[in-house]
């Protein structure tokens, strides 16, 4: 039996923006059927990682293959096989969702079967009443739904989702989580970044904790617990310990409590 090819195989990625080092040797491997959660403090390098994987940015150093292609030299091949949702939905705001989906499906050169898939997705996300309204006039959550549908309409093997639950209401969030699980269940892969620990804890088959541009810990919840030496910890506790922020948070809370007791608040 042949070993499955990884959907993401990145090693020692470095990305510099001028004097700022966003990634400092990040390595990552995601297999088919996996939901891989990227967790990290603000500015840890999660968005940069996802942008590099989706072919929107190129690393300063390191090597990366996405669905078997190099996103730097074969960006179009990568984009054909991935669905990307940015942290803030990037859409043509003067188009309506109907026009936008038509544009995305046509430029991806999809056949008519995509209409049914996109219509189903639009229906489950309750997008019907917004279908002919310019996107610029819609709420953040509705824009996010449009971005999610556009990223999934071509059934890509790999989804790259940057904070995909941003702005979504509980109902839509639940549907998106289900879609992600179904996608992985069908042999697809998902890499997504999130700040919501519960989401990562319940959905991810593996979690990578990113700090200062590197994956500082990686594994299933059990593996992370073993790694931290705390068998009963929540993901939030593990996260703070593994990113060396435990002491900082304890000190900050201590100061706030002292101030509060002194009546400074």
């Amino acid at each position: 039996m042949s070993t499955p090819v990884p959907l993401v195989d990145a090693s020692d990625l470095v990305k510099d923006y001028g004097s700022v080092r966003a990634l400092a040797g990040l390595s990552l491997r995601v297999m088919p059927g996996e939901v891989y959660g990227l967790l990290g403090p603000n500015g840890a390098g999660k968005t940069t990682t996802l942008r590099i994987l989706s072919g929107l940015d190129s690393p300063t150093a390191g090597s990366v293959k996405v669905v078997g292609y190099d996103p730097v030299t074969e960006a179009i091949d990568v984009k054909k096989r991935t669905g990307y949702v940015a942290e803030s939905a990037i859409l043509y705001e003067s188009l309506t969702p109907r026009e936008y989906f038509e544009f995305v499906a046509s430029t991806r050169r999809l056949d008519e079967s995509v209409v049914k898939r996109a219509s189903t997705l639009a229906d489950v996300f309750d997008l019907g009443s917004h279908f002919d309204v310019p996107i610029g006039a819609l709420s953040l959550g509705t824009k996010q739904k449009i971005a999610v549908i556009a990223s999934m309409m071509h059934s890509p093997p790999l989804l790259l989702l940057d904070e995909p639950l941003n702005g979504l209401d509980a109902k839509s969030g639940r549907i998106l989580k289900e879609l992600i699980i179904l996608h992985a269940g069908n042999g697809g892969g998902v890499v997504f970044s999130t700040h919501v620990m519960e989401v990562a804890e319940t959905m991810c088959t593996r979690i990578g904790i990113v700090s200062s541009g590197r994956v500082v810990a990686e594994g299933t919840m059990d593996e992370l617990r073993t790694l931290s030496g705390r068998r009963d910890s929540s993901l939030e506790d593990l996260f703070l310990k593994l990113t060396d922020e435990e002491k900082f948070v304890a000190d900050a809370i201590g100061r706030l409590r002292e101030d509060s007791q002194r009546g400074s608040w």
Partner: protein, 540 residues
């Protein structure tokens, strides 16, 4: 909030206004994220404003230069350039009005949609204060252009007439005209914004949209390109203004730029008919009142326009959740047309084909014998309009959206879409030329129609080069003026080469047929180079 605080707050909003589009465009540089990148953005915006201010100054002074020419050559018969002071003042005001509207409709959509005023809206600041800050930010956006146009016109009047009253009147007319231009642009932008927020884009309004664009687009384009047809426009205007009892003379004397021209001429000791003067004084009074109204509209509507709006819910009921899948290129072309037709900065490009027909055909109508030169120039002018369309198409969409969107476009699809739309905008030129040349005597019958048709190939190649230059510059974060100069300049360079080849060959051999062959050869070479460039982009 006092005026000092509002002025300081407007500096923050202005910086946001300049910096956000660069961030959103996806432009990354070594300095991105540092304080230096903000300073660089502000410097770029200042350079941009200075370049547009220079254009405006040229427009403001050009009619006075022609007036000066008339004074110097009063003993020489120089009909085409001969304009009087009334026309010089009027056309100067009209040109600046056109430039200002054109600049405002380019700037205001960003002003409205940048979200620069969002943070202000979250603070406990009264709507009136937001208006004050927004108006001050608008001033910071337009300051150089407004100051330079006003000072140029004042200096010209003071120099030519030495009349203090005349100079003060021009100041009043210039300020009124500028306020009306800003008010009109703001109104136009807010109309678009409301339409985008208001729900469906289909139906009756969609039907009238092209008509609306053509009407106002023609008006603004006429004012902007006035300088190129000034010698055709000035003589009939002069005649009309000397006949205030005629309907057209009556109407013109009441209209702002002409009423100001008549009054300034009167106070400069020139002979103006009594009825004209009465009408002009009335016209100036109406314009002054109108500009006061425009200021009130600017102040009243600006806060509503710049503040972020909440999302809307569409119409209820069962909607057919389907769409049509097209070919990639046709979908891209359709997207370009849709996006540009819903933006006031570019909507008027739909009026360009009609305008270019007028600009190309009018100079030929009065000539019984048509030589090759006006046909070559006409095709060049038409091609120039196509380059302008390409520039607007590239500019209208946030370039960053394209580069950030994780869709599998190749560069060639992006470029080809804009090139096809721009070249299509040129196609009415050969048709119009063919119609106007029917029944006219021609010095070289064979080339008269072949040249405008062959120029379509050169226009295609020129647009490929222009779009490529613009895309390359987008990655450097250059300002609009620099991109405009580099993009249009590179396109013009390609466009003019076949005409140069024609001229050189004709000078060498005095043979139109040989010159036409050279023209064709260079055009074919340009097309091949354009196709090669597209092919290079296809693999990226």
């Amino acid at each position: 909030m006092d005026l000092g605080e509002a002025w300081r707050a407007s500096k923050v909003s202005y910086t946001e206004l300049v910096y956000r589009p660069i961030l959103r465009s996806g432009y990354t540089s070594r300095d991105m994220g540092s304080r230096k990148s903000v300073k660089t953005a502000l410097t770029g915006a200042t350079v941009n404003k200075m370049i547009f201010a220079l254009f405006t100054m040229a427009g403001a002074l050009f009619p006075f230069a022609l007036y000066r020419l008339r004074i110097d050559s009063s003993s020489i018969h120089l009909t085409s350039a001969s304009i009087d002071l009334t026309i010089a003042v009027s056309l100067s005001l009209l040109l600046v009005f056109g430039y200002l509207v054109l600049y405002c409709v380019q700037v205001l959509p960003t002003f409205v949609s940048s979200g620069s005023f969002g943070p202000l809206a979250q603070l406990p600041v009264a709507s009136r204060d937001v208006s004050t800050v927004a108006a001050m930010t608008l001033w910071r956006t337009l300051d150089y252009i407004l100051m330079v146009s006003l000072l140029s016109q004042l200096a010209a009047i003071a120099y030519f007439t030495g009349s203090i009253t005349g100079t003060l009147l021009v100041a009043l007319a210039s300020v009124s005209s500028s306020l009306l231009a800003i008010g009109l642009s703001l109104r136009l932008t807010s109309l678009f914004q409301r339409r985008l927020e208001g729900g469906s884009l289909s139906g009756v309004r969609a039907f009238f949209r092209p008509l609306y664009f053509i009407l106002w687009g023609l008006g603004v384009m006429s004012a902007v390109f006035l300088f190129s047809v000034i010698s055709f426009v000035a003589p009939p205007l002069q005649v009309m203004l000397t006949q205030p009892s005629s309907p057209e003379g009556f109407a013109l004397s009441l209209l702002l730029p002409f009423s100001a021209g008549l009054i300034v001429s009167h106070f400069s000791g020139q002979n103006v008919a009594a009825l004209s003067l009465v009408l002009a004084v009335g016209g100036m009074a109406i314009a002054a009142l109108g500009s006061l109204g425009a200021s009130a509209v600017i102040f009243r509507t600006i806060a509503g326009v710049v503040l972020p709006t909440r999302g809307v819910t569409g119409e209820g009921g069962k909607t057919e959740l389907s769409f049509r899948v097209r070919g990639a290129l046709s979908a891209y072309i359709l997207k370009d047309i849709r996006v540009s037709s819903r933006n006031p900065a570019t909507g008027f490009l739909f009026a360009l084909p009609l305008f270019e027909i007028i600009a190309v055909v009018v100079p030929l109508t009065a000539t019984p014998l048509v030589r090759m030169a006006p046909i070559l120039v006409g095709a060049q002018v038409g091609g120039g309009f196509a380059l302008f369309v390409a520039f607007l198409l590239v500019t209208v969409e946030d370039l960053g959206v394209e580069r950030k969107t994780a869709l599998p476009f190749s560069e060639s699809v992006r470029t080809l879409s804009k090139v096809i739309v721009s070249t299509a905008a040129y196609l009415p030129v050969p048709v119009a030329l063919a119609l106007v040349l029917m029944g006219k005597a021609l010095t070289f019958e064979g080339g008269a129609i072949i040249i405008p048709i062959a120029t379509a190939g050169s226009v295609f190649a020129a647009c490929v080069f222009e779009v490529s230059v613009l895309k390359a510059l987008a990655d450097t974060g250059r300002g609009t003026a620099v991109r405009f100069a580099a993009g249009i300049g590179s396109g013009e360079l390609v466009l003019i080469l076949p005409t140069l080849a024609y001229a050189v060959a004709y000078v060498l051999w005095h043979d139109h047929a040989a010159a036409l062959e050279s023209f064709g050869l260079v055009t074919v070479m340009e097309l091949a180079a354009g196709a090669f460039l597209l092919r290079l982009k296809a693999v990226r």
